[in-house]
Amino acid sequence: MTASLVIFFVLALLAIFAAVSLILQRHPIHSALSLIVVMVALAGLYLLMGAEFVAAVQIIVYGGAIMVLFVFVIMLLNAEEEERTNFSKLATYAGIPLALAIAGFIAAAIARSSGSLPAPEPSGALTSTKTLSNLLFSDFVYPFELTSFLILVAILGAIVLAQREN
C-alpha cells in the first residue's frame, strides 16, 4: 500500500461521494457546490498523475470560471428546491439500469483489457508545461485556432442571447 495508492483512494472516494451528493441534493446550489468538490478532487488526481498544468487549468477555468458562472445563474434565477414532479415513467424506471449498463460495459471492457495497457511512468518524469505547449503549437495548432474561433462564437452567442428585447 504505497502512499500514492492511499491518496488515490482518498481522492477517488471524495469524488464519488461528491457526485452522489450532487444527485441527492435538492437545492441546485448544493449540487453546484458538490460539483466543485468533484472538480477539486479530480485536480488532485491530475496532480497525482503528474499533469500539473492540467490540474491548474482545471481549478482556474473549471472551478473558478465555469462553476462561478453556474452559481451566478442559480442566484440570478432565484432557483428553489426542486419540484417533485415526475411525469416521465420511462426515466424513472429505465434510468438506473441504463446507467449501470453503460458504466458496466465500460468497466468490463477496461477490466478485460487492462493487461494490454503499459505500466504508468513515475509521476512528473514526462509531462511538463513546456512539452504541452510545444505540442499545442505544433501538432495541434489547427484545433487550437479553431477553439479560439469557437470561443469567439460563444461570446457572440452569449451577447445575442442576453440582449433585451426591443
Binding site: L90, I102, I106, A108
Partner: protein, 647 residues
C-alpha cells in the same frame, strides 16, 4: 419480284386505312372515309393479284420471306415471316376480293348509320388481321391474326353497342372463341415442346419424318392435332362451340357477310388444311374432324328449317356449310374442303348481302313472316338471291354443285364409316335445299304480310347491287374449275392445290368416274327434293302455325344455349360472385392491403407515445442509443469474459 419481296404491303394497306379512319375520321364526310377505306382495300387486292401473277410467273415456287425477327429467345425464333403458296393464293384472293366487294356494298348499306368511320376502321382492321393469318409462315404469327380477327369480330358484332343484345352477342362471340383459342394454344405449346419450332416449313418436315399414330392411339401428334381442332371448332363455329354465330347476326349485315360467312369462320378450315401433314399422321383426329363436321352440318340444318329471322337462317346455314368443309378435310379431301370454302365464300356472301338488301328495302325488318311478295318490287336483289339459293342447294352448273359433290364423293369412298357420313351429308343437303327455298318463297312470293303504309319498299342503290351481281356471277362460274371431271378430265383446282395439300387424295379415278357421276345425280335429286317440298309447303299463301312439339324444339335451337347457361355459365358466375369476389378479392386482397394500412396506422399509434414532449424521456432514448453503440463496440472485448471468469 417487287411485290413478293414486299409481301407485307398486302396486310399493311388495310392497317393504314384503319388507322387513318380510326384516328382522324371522326368529323369526315362519308366520301372521304370511303376513299380511304376502299382505296386501301382495293390497293391491297391489286397487290394481291400482282403477287399471284409473280408467283405463277415464277413457276409456282412456294415463296417465303423473313421480314424481321419478332421473338428471339434462346433457340426459339418466331419472325414476321410471310409465305405464298398455292393455298395462300386461294385464300388471299377470296379474302381480298370478296372483302373489297363487301366494302363497296357497305358504303351503301351503312350510309345513314352513325359511327360510319368507326365501321370502316374496324372493317379494315379485320382485313389486316385476316391477311396476317393467311400469309403467316409460322404458327405464332398465324395466332396473332387468329386473335386479331376474334377481336374485330367482337368490335363489329357489338357495333351498335348501345343495344344490349348486340353488346352481349359481341361478348359471347369473344368468350366462346377464347375457349377454342385455349385449345389452340395448348396445341401450339405441345408442338413447340416436341419439335422446338413453330415454323411451318420446319415443323411439317419434322412431322413428315415421324411415324403415323395408329387409330385410337393418343400420341403426341394426335393430341396436338386434336387441340388445334378445338381451336378450329371455336373459330369456325362447329359443335359444341358454334353458339356464338347465330347471335353474331346482331352485327350489321356486311359484317355477317364478311366475317361470319366468307373469311373469319373459314380460318379454322384453313388451319386444318395448312396442317394437313399433321392431320394425315393422326387418323383418329381425322375421324373426329369428319364426324364433327358431318354432325354439325346436319344439326345446324335442322335448326335452320324453322327459323323466322332471315339472317338466322343464313347463320345456321353457314354453320352447316362449314361442317361440310370439315367433313371434306376429315376424309382426306383437303382440296375439296378448300374448294367448298371458296365457293361458299361467293354464294354465302351473296346471300347475306342480298338479305341485307332486302332488309334495307324493308326499312329494317328481318322477320320473314312480315315479308312476302317482294319479287316484283326488288327485282335485282331477287335475281341475285335466287342465284345464291340455287348455288347453295347444289344445282348444276352452279358452284356448290362441284364442291359439295367432291366432298360427298370423298366421304363415300373413305373407309370405316364413309357410307354413314355420306348418308348424313346427303340428308343435310336435302334440308339445305329445303330451308333455302323456304326462305325464297316466304320472302319474295305469296301475299304481302306487311303494312304498305309503314314500309316503303325500294330497290337498293347501285353501290349495293353491283357487288351482288358480281358475286352472283362468281356463284355461277366459281366451280367451273372442276367441270372437266364430268367427262373424265382433270379437276384444275385440286391439281393447282396439290403441291400445297398433298397429292393423291382420291385413288382409282378411272373406275370411280361412273360412281362419281351417279353420286352427282343423287345429289341433284336431293336438291330437287328439297325444292319440291318447299314449293308444296310455302309457295301458296301460308299462315304461321303454332309452335309445338318437334317444331318447338327446333325453333328454340334444341335449348343448347339454355343448357350451356345452366351447366357452364351459371356455376361460373356463382363461383365468381361468391368465391372470387367475396372471399378472394374483398377478404384476402382488400383485407391484406387494408390490413397493412391498418397495421401501419397501429404501429404509428403506438410509436406516437414516444413523442411525449418530456425532455427526460428523450434523454433516456439518447442514452439507450449510446448504450447500443457501446455494446457494439465493446462486445468483442467483454464477450470472452462473460463466459469465462468473473470481471
Amino acid at each position: 419480284m417487287p411485290i413478293l419481296n414486299h409481301l407485307w404491303i398486302i396486310p399493311l394497306l388495310p392497317l393504314l386505312g384503319s388507322a387513318i379512319n380510326g384516328l382522324f375520321g371522326h368529323g369526315w364526310p362519308n366520301k372521304t372515309v370511303n376513299m380511304v377505306a376502299l382505296g386501301s382495300t382495293g390497293l391491297s387486292f391489286a397487290s394481291g393479284v400482282e403477287a399471284v401473277r409473280e408467283f405463277l410467273a415464277n413457276g409456282q415456287q412456294p415463296f417465303r420471306k423473313e421480314f424481321f425477327d419478332w421473338i428471339v429467345a434462346g433457340n426459339f425464333r418466331a419472325g414476321f415471316d410471310l409465305q405464298l403458296d398455292q393455298l395462300t393464293v386461294v385464300m388471299l384472293m377470296v379474302v381480298t376480293g370478296v372483302g373489297f366487294l363487301i366494302h363497296i356494298y357497305s358504303t351503301g348499306y351503312m350510309a345513314h348509320e352513325g359511327g360510319y368511320y368507326r365501321f370502316f376502321s374496324y372493317l379494315n382492321l379485320f382485313m389486316f388481321f385476316m391477311l396476317i393469318l393467311v400469309l403467316a409462315a409460322n404458327f405464332v404469327l398465324l395466332f396473332v391474326g387468329w386473335e386479331g380477327v376474334g377481336l374485330c369480330s367482337y368490335l363489329l358484332i357489338g357495333f351498335y353497342f348501345l343495344k344490349k343484345s348486340a353488346s352481349d352477342a359481341g361478348k359471347k362471340a369473344f368468350i366462346v372463341n377464347r375457349i377454342g383459342d385455349f385449345g389452340f394454344m395448348l396445341g401450339m405449346f405441345l408442338l413447340f415442346r416436341t419439335f422446338h419450332t413453330l415454323d411451318f416449313a420446319d415443323l411439317f418436315k419434322q412431322i413428315a419424318d415421324r411415324p403415323t399414330d395408329a387409330m385410337g392411339q393418343f400420341g403426341t401428334l394426335t393430341v396436338a392435332a386434336l387441340l388445334l381442332f378445338v381451336g378450329a371448332t371455336g373459330k369456325s363455329a362447329q359443335l359444341p362451340l358454334y353458339v356464338w354465330l347465330p347471335d353474331a347476326m346482331e352485327g350489321p349485315t356486311p359484317v355477317s357477310a364478311l366475317i361470319h360467312a366468307a373469311t373469319m369462320v373459314t380460318a379454322g378450315v384453313y388451319v386444318v388444311a395448312r396442317s394437313h401433314v399433321l392431320y394425315s399422321h393422326a387418323p383418329t383426329v381425322m375421324h373426329v374432324v369428319a364426324i364433327v363436321g358431318c354432325a354439325t352440318a346436319f344439326f345446324a340444318a335442322t335448326i335452320g328449317l324453322v327459323q323466322s329471322d332471315i339472317k338466322r337462317v343464313l347463320a345456321y346455314s353457314t354453320v352447316s356449310q362449314l361442317g361440310y368443309m370439315f367433313l371434306g378435310c376429315g376424309v382426306g379431301a383437303f382440296s375439296a374442303g378448300i374448294f367448298h370454302l371458296m365457293t361458299h365464300a361467293f354464294f354465302k356472301a351473296l346471300l347475306f348481302l342480298s338479305a341485307g338488301s332486302v332488309i334495307h328495302a324493308m326499312g329494317g325488318e328481318q322477320d320473314m313472316w312480315h315479308m312476302g311478295g317482294l319479287a316484283s318490287k326488288i327485282k335485282a336483289t331477287f335475281w341475285c338471291m335466287l342465284f345464291g339459293t340455287i348455288a347453295i342447294a347444289g344445282f348444276f352448273p352452279f358452284a356448290a354443285f362441284f364442291s359439295k359433290d367432291a366432298i360427298l364423293f370423298a366421304a363415300f369412298n373413305s373407309e370405316s364409316g364413309g357410307k354413314a357420313l355420306y348418308t348424313v351429308g346427303l340428308l343435310a343437303a336435302v334440308l339445305t335445299s329445303f330451308y333455302m327455298f323456304r326462305l325464297m318463297w316466304l320472302t319474295f312470293f305469296g301475299q304481302k304480310r306487311y303494312d304498305e303504309h309503314h314500309v316503303h319498299v325500294h330497290e337498293s342503290p347501285l353501290n349495293m347491287t353491283v357487288p351482288l351481281m358480281i358475286l352472283a356471277a362468281l356463284s355461277l362460274t366459281g366451280g367451273w374449275f372442276a367441270l372437266p371431271t364430268l367427262w373424265g378430265g382433270k379437276d384444275y383446282f385440286t391439281e393447282f392445290l396439290s403441291p400445297a395439300l398433298g397429292a393423291g387424295e382420291i385413288a382409282g379415278l378411272e373406275n370411280a368416274h361412273i360412281l362419281e357421276l351417279t353420286l352427282s345425280g343423287v345429289a341433284m335429286a336431293a336438291a330437287f327434293a328439297g325444292l319440291i317440298v318447299a314449293w308444296r309447303m310455302y309457295a301458296k299463301d301460308v299462315k304461321r302455325g303454332k309452335s309445338e312439339g318437334l317444331h318447338k324444339i327446333l325453333y328454340n335451337k334444341y335449348y343448347v344455349d339454355e343448357l350451356y347457361q345452366a351447366v357452364v355459365v351459371g356455376p361460373l358466375m356463382w363461383l365468381s360472385r361468391n368465391v372470387l369476389w367475396k372471399v378472394v378479392d374483398v377478404g384476402v386482397i382488400d383485407g391484406t392491403v387494408n390490413g397493412i394500412a391498418h397495421g401501419t396506422s397501429a404501429v404509428g399509434d403506438t410509436v406516437r407515445h414516444t413523442q411525449s414532449g418530456n425532455t427526460r424521456s428523450y434523454a433516456v432514448w439518447v442514452l439507450v442509443g449510446a448504450l447500443v453503440v457501446f455494446a457494439i463496440i465493446f462486445w468483442p472485448i467483454v464477450h470472452p469474459a462473460v463466459f469465462g471468469g468473473v470481471p
